[in-house]
Assembly symmetry: C2
């Protein structure tokens, strides 16, 4: 059970997380890579090839949205697509070397602002964030 005041904590946490995420998005570098692109490339980088449906489910977007993202990534040369040998309906998406390179560079750029924010915090404050990291991940993946 949660304490009576936890409802207010839930609201405040939600707002703080949303606003921080907005700041991160706004403060990203002058690159031309969208969040959707980076999310897909990141998953392919970590988990290897995946079907369009798997990618859509992972990002909680609809299949048409993922089709559009994959098409753009393919036209830019960052992924390749091929029908599955087992099941011709499925489309297997794989990251290219250019995709790897783009993701590395983009992640680096986008972390700059956030890293600067961390540098302005005290040791205790950074420790508090570090302790919250696994909890945030748990919620994000649930």
């Amino acid at each position: 059970m949660m304490a009576p005041t936890d409802d207010e904590t839930a609201l405040e946490l939600r707002l703080a997380i949303q606003k921080t995420a907005r700041r991160i998005r706004n403060e990203r570098g002058g690159d031309h890579v969208s969040d959707g692109w980076l999310s897909v490339l990141g998953q392919l980088d970590r988990g290897g090839p995946a079907t369009a449906g798997q990618l859509a489910e992972y990002d909680h977007v609809t299949p048409p949205s993922m089709t559009r993202t994959i098409t753009a990534l393919r036209e830019a040369g960052y992924v390749t697509t091929a029908p599955s040998e087992d099941d011709g309906r499925r489309v297997i998406v794989s990251i290219t070397d250019a995709g790897h390179a783009l993701m590395d560079e983009t992640r680096r750029l986008r972390t700059v602002w956030f890293r600067e924010q961390l540098a302005d915090l005290s040791g205790d404050e950074r420790a508090a964030l570090q302790a919250a990291l696994p909890v945030l991940r748990k919620m994000a993946d649930s």
Copy 2:
């Protein structure tokens, strides 16, 4: 100074915050109120009337974007606008009773999913999030 491994922590924290925020946005109720609307109404609710420019700065959006948001809110009856008496160029935006009511209901709906997530956490995990709250706020407002 930050420890050598903090660069990686920065990346992981950033991704976890962004993905959690995406989940919050996706899991919101069937309401028809955008994040932009709620952010403006929330600020007017807490801080009282404000100019269009102040609202744009607070949300880190451009003046044209804020104009559009304010127009939509006014047409829906959730805010009123009036030129400043001191400076005819400035537009003072005020929340209406309907705006108050809408914001309360919307906040309640959007917090449901997040509150359920909190209920699934251990006491230690909730404490970790609570400790991180002021730090997140500090970053979001910086």
